[in-house]
Amino acid sequence: MESLSTSSEFENLYSYLKRFSDRLVEEEDNLRIVVESEKLREVAEVLSKTEGVFLRTIAASDERSVNGFYKMYYVFGIDKIHRNIVIEVPVDPSDPVVPSITDIVKAADWYEKEAHDLMGIKFSGRTLYKFVLPDDWPDNVYPLRKDYTVQDLVKLYRPEIVTKAKEVEAEAAIIIPIGPYHPALHEPEYFELYVRGEKVVDARYVGFMVHRGIEKLAESMKYDQVPFLAERICGICGFVHSCSYCQAVEKALKIPVPERAEYIRSIVLEIERIHSHLLWLGVAFHLLGYDTGFMHIWRIREQVMILAELLTGSRKTYGLNIIGGVRRDIDRDKAKKCLQVLDNIEKEFKNFVDAAINVPQIKSRLRRTGLLPKSEATSLSLVGPTVRGSGIPRDIRKDYPYAAYKYIDFKPVVRSECDNMARTEVRIYEIFQSIELVKNFLDRIPEGDIAVDSWEPEPYKFGIGAVEAPRGEVIHIVITGRYSPYRWRARAPTYQNLPAIPIMLRDIELADAPITIASIDPCFSCTDRALIIDISSNNVKSVPLNILSLKSSKLFR
């Protein structure tokens, strides 16, 4: 593989960076470069203007006990040559200010807000407000700083309700979330749509209502316990998170994972993608008022769930990954059963989706709605089927090969229509592709161990682990500690994709908003309720999202 220094295409970029800082290290797949904060904007500008460079993630870390600084890590990726450029900016603890790069790199917006809330880093040249933490969080308490342990934080922050409960001498207080949350099924997400008549003018997103602070929690857990915590970030594609975490640790400590374990991971990752895409299709049909489609797709999906249980021991939260390998082997019987089930699913799905996607209502609701231009998708560094529906072939499996994807050749599914239909089609064809991939993996899986015997942690090593989740790229950064990760940064695909929703919503019919919001597959969350503010009459009304969505189907009939 090419490295940045030997790549002819990025020669200029490399010599530029080399001139910029003498503290530059080229590692196996990262180019790490220390940049002083005054020069950050200049580097960011050059990187954002270089074609093919995307922002992958940003992490803030408290390293005062190690080197006396806070540190910002900006991870830019060059998909073409499978390399990361990690820009490290030391931040003076007495005056933690870094220049904002949001005006240069659009995708950095949320990361800066988050670093401000959790690590207390200030970004000059932009407005900042409480974004992740609740409004009544105590001032000047930055939870990710090493000054606080998890126990300290629990004592420091008490939701208002606790005091209120004491005032009325209640024995216990139970918080029942009603509103933008759905109490049972979905995660909370809240959109305000600004409309003129039936047309959407703009949208605003409020989120982080259930920020759980697991990055902090992991710092107090042992290495081998964290995969199980990571798996619970998402209820639909949890395996990608445990996989990313393990890969990050393995990269940081250079643990050689047995090839068989890599294959098993890839097989389970693809099975997870099949079930997740089927789930999304079902929910999308449901949102469009085609419940027959929903029922049949979920019927087909059930077989995948049972298959996953057979291979891993659980329908979801597989609990398969540990650092250095996997916990369960796929024996011959299981492999045979797996092939049978996949054949059946392929046949049934092909039959059904052909009928479902040709339902006139479905077609007309998906075509030319929720347009996401290629230029916007690039500038926001979007990921997953969302970006592939806009004609950009970004796929982590291909761009930064991991697990068994490095042994296999395939082409990412890309559609260039940029609408909801394009994103739907990407998912449909990816289901077929995933089935094909699993068959291939099962065919080629080598004999051998499924995990390393033992490994030794070594503090302050840096590792990046990335996985192509069903929704897009999941990327984890781990800085190792002695018994637990020193800093663990997890970034899920929806984090990167949500800022695209206001763009997709612009100028569309109100009734198409639910499917458009859903089209990025935002872990489906609590998009169940929307607040409509009519600008002309100043009326505010609250409508459940599924009813809003049905309206248009009726009109069509």
């Binding site: 857990m221 042992k222 081998d224 316990q225 199980f228 915590l229 619970r232 027959t292 049949h296 019927r299 059930e302 049972i306 249980e309 057979l310 291979l311 891993t312 021991g313 659980s314 939260t317 609990g319 916990r327 369960r328 299981k334 039959n351 059904f352 052909d354 009928a355 479902a356 040709n358 339902v359 006139p360």
Partner: protein, 165 residues
């Protein structure tokens, strides 16, 4: 053209897929991981499982004259790591998943162990079964040191060596 009508033959062919749970065949496959079962006759109370348990569903405490290994099903995530690390293979993963109960006490399972008191300071520091096990494994280890808690053992060792000099 009217491709979408194809749904009708599919639906007719498939028929009913829901089963009459809980009266029909079991819902889980052979690999399924459910609640765990600790075999009290094999368990030595070493506490390895309590150290690996990610959600801290297993805990070890000393109450009075007994050490208690407590399993709280309410916290269990059914990962089975405890069974993986148990040196005595005393933990079995069952297929039990219908675990709801009206009484929270039903969700606790305790394994009780006799404890050994330190000959010097009188603190309770280890289960007698684990101590026996260690005794068998370390035949040459001086007996008088074995019955001391880690702190007193250190003091004893140190004073012995000083005396020798």
């Amino acid at each position: 053209m009217v491709k979408f009508v194809k749904v009708i033959p599919i639906a007719v062919k498939v028929g009913t897929v829901t089963i009459k749970y809980p009266y029909a065949k079991p819902l889980v496959t052979d690999s399924f991981r459910g609640a765990i079962e600790v075999n009290p006759s094999k368990c030595t109370g070493c506490g390895a499982c309590t150290r690996i348990c990610p959600p801290k569903a297993l805990s070890m405490s000393i109450e009075g004259e007994t050490a208690i290994l407590r399993y709280f099903i309410g916290r269990c995530i059914f990962c089975g790591m405890c069974a993986d690390v148990c040196p005595e293979k005393a933990i079995k993963i069952t297929k039990e998943f219908e675990l709801a109960s009206e009484q929270v006490f039903d969700l606790y399972v305790d394994v009780e162990h006799e404890v050994v008191t330190c000959k010097r300071c009188g603190s309770k520091f280890v289960t007698s079964r684990l101590l026996n096990k260690v005794e068998q494994k370390l035949e040459e280890f001086p007996k008088e040191l074995l019955y001391l808690c880690p702190r007193c053992r250190r003091i004893e060792m140190l004073s012995k060596q000083t005396y020798l000099r």
